[in-house]
Symmetry: C2
Subunit: 387 residues, 2 copies
């Protein structure tokens, strides 16, 4: 294994020792199909239900509103594709910086008769509430806004948006579904789906030290999924339940959630240290410097190093022993190396091209960040000489 000072935690986190232990223990203790009627099957089902209850407690919602999926991407698609089953189409309002697993399926809805309207952002990367309110009308069927963005770490005012939607519904006798991608905020920043009038939300296991292959879908309103099968997860998600992954996820989430405030402060210190360590150097420009629990996550720093291409910097930092990202891992698969998030945040194409993402986890140390800053300065100095 190549070892890094690892600063790509928004792409994926390492699985914690405890989560891996939970996983293997559950594989051994609950090997049966949770849908089987014999006792061993029912015990496996109970293990899943306990995991659901834990997560319900963390999210202050009934476990009945929670459904296990295979990933955050699946949770987004599960809700968005359910709109295909609606007889009366209408408008979808979606922020310009959604994750590809929300934005692309939503855009595809156009081919099925929906009008899909992109909500633009101000230069801080935030949705303007006034503009949002003006965009609402009675033909709006769904609003899709992510909580914490995976590339720049901006936090959207989802609580306020939820309130605006409910007020609009009341005044206009209509029904609007509010979906929030909370993959980058869960157990990191306070998120209250029920209290904040959110109708569905997506979560992922592997962004918080638990194994891949597990996601969570919160849903308060009844939807009609497109993917059907054996009726698992009360019909919302077919396929034999991944008992071990689910248990490992719920347990790790509980551990992380208990540390939420402590981890927030720690990552804030790390990000502030990085910002101050690079502040003397003109070439380094951070997208949002001011961390705040309602506007900017400390877990993600978006750093512009114009004119150095992000991919080049990522590769030289790689050989220097640091894992950082030249964009979201998801966009790396795209032939165009999609930079729509940065452009929606009012960065020029050139700026977007030379922006790297540095994403923290509570395990990162101040020493690592100091070393990261030094390495960034050194590598950039060398690269500038080449140009």
């Amino acid at each position: 294994m190549i070892k890094y000072s690892y600063f790509d935690n928004a792409a994926t986190t390492r699985v914690s020792k405890q989560a891996l232990e939970d996983y293997t223990e559950t594989i051994n203790n609950f090997p049966y199909n949770p849908s089987s009627v014999y006792k061993g099957g029912m015990e496996s089902y109970k293990a899943i239900q306990e995991a659901r209850e834990k997560l319900g407690g963390m999210l202050s919602t009934s476990p009945a509103n929670l459904f296990f999926t295979s990933s955050g991407s699946e949770s987004n698609n599960l809700y968005i594709s359910s709109l295909l089953n609606k007889r009366s189409k209408g408008k979808i309002l979606i922020s310009a910086i959604e994750h590809p697993s929300a934005l692309f399926p939503a855009q595809r809805l156009r081919e099925f008769g929906y009008e899909v309207i992109t909500l633009n952002l101000d230069s801080n990367g935030q949705i303007c509430l006034k503009g949002f309110e003006n965009a609402l009308d009675r033909s709006v069927k769904a609003v899709i806004v992510m909580h914490v963005n995976n590339e720049v770490g901006t936090i959207q005012p989802v609580k306020e948006i939820g309130q605006i939607i409910r007020d609009f519904e009341k005044n206009n006798l209509c029904s609007i579904h509010f979906h929030v991608d909370a993959v980058q905020s869960f157990c990191k920043i306070d998120f209250q789906p029920e209290k904040w009038n959110i109708d569905s939300a997506s979560f992922s296991s592997h962004k918080l030290y638990a194994p891949r292959g597990v996601g969570l879908f919160y849903c308060k309103k009844s939807i009609q999924p497109i993917y059907l099968g054996g009726g698992q997860e009360r019909g919302y998600r077919p396929g034999t339940e991944n008992t071990a992954g689910i248990v490992a996820f719920a347990n790790e989430a509980e551990r992380q959630n208990r540390l939420l405030e402590q981890n927030f402060l720690h990552t804030m210190e790390l990000k502030n240290l990085l910002i101050s360590s690079l502040s003397g150097e003109g070439i380094f420009t951070f997208f949002n410097k001011k961390i705040h629990e309602t506007t900017q996550s400390p877990y993600i720093a978006s750093l512009n190093v114009k004119p150095i291409p992000a991919e080049v910097l990522t590769r030289v930092m790689d050989s220097a022993g640091f894992a950082i990202s030249s964009g979201s891992a998801c966009s790396a698969n795209s032939p165009q190396k999609i930079k729509y998030v940065l452009e929606a945040c009012k960065l020029s194409k050139e700026e977007a091209f030379s922006t790297v993402r540095i994403s923290f986890c509570p395990d990162n140390t101040q020493d690592e960040v100091v070393a990261l800053a030094e390495a960034l300065k050194n590598e950039v100095k060398i690269l500038k000489q080449i140009r």
Copy 2:
């Protein structure tokens, strides 16, 4: 953990020691996001590619035709929901005994303008090839037939169906997609998707001693998936790849595939032993006694114990230390306890109600089967006295 003589292997198999070792080793060796551009990410990607090559070798197809998903159910849904993206709708021919993850999404296509025609079976549970040929016309867009049925173990003549489809296409200048659910046959019975003119197929990891949360989708024709996202799996399946699950699956499949013939003979002996052990008792009727590699899988036995309800027998066998099934685990979630497979195989409602499934794995021993037969006889004797 409750320990059983375990005869519910068609619902799920236990994870082998080696598969679990492969999983944890891969978690530790390849912890990075396979889409990341730094070396650690690229190594993770390479591990996935190697897994894909292994599976390609086993299926005699190019790895480029293989896509990792989260389950067999997802693979079925992935293909079937892609039909929503087709502009010109038409007919879908589907066998009456498909898994719920194929049958239900296909039936739902009716609401989107497709005509969905069910292919009926003869009393052996087989599709009549002549009838199938007659059902074909130029408006048929897709044919969906599973290889080995998960409840009764019948093998459908998918090779012959593939040939009939290609001949029809040639003579009628049309294009028909042939999808096969191979979840219960992979590494158990010879399956040659490419040679047999199959256009897409579904596979699952947890039916062969590898972890849950991993499936495989073989696809030779280009399709337009409904679920979209970060472009992983060449756009066919969004979500960060489950590297550890994928590697564990491919390695275990390779081990099992090497033992295919040996395991076939062993499970055939087990099933034959069960049949002969119960043959003197009038109450026990097996659905298909004659095992053959092209008509009936040795891995699954469907046993009628009329008038005893399957669920009652399953529960008493549970307390006697034997895990058997009162139907497919998938149908257990349904409020109606769906028995459509058995009814399509010409069993009466009463017979379907009193049919249990006993499914073997290579680890089962002859001693276990003898004990199972004894227990079945004893429990049935007691239950008959009650009635």
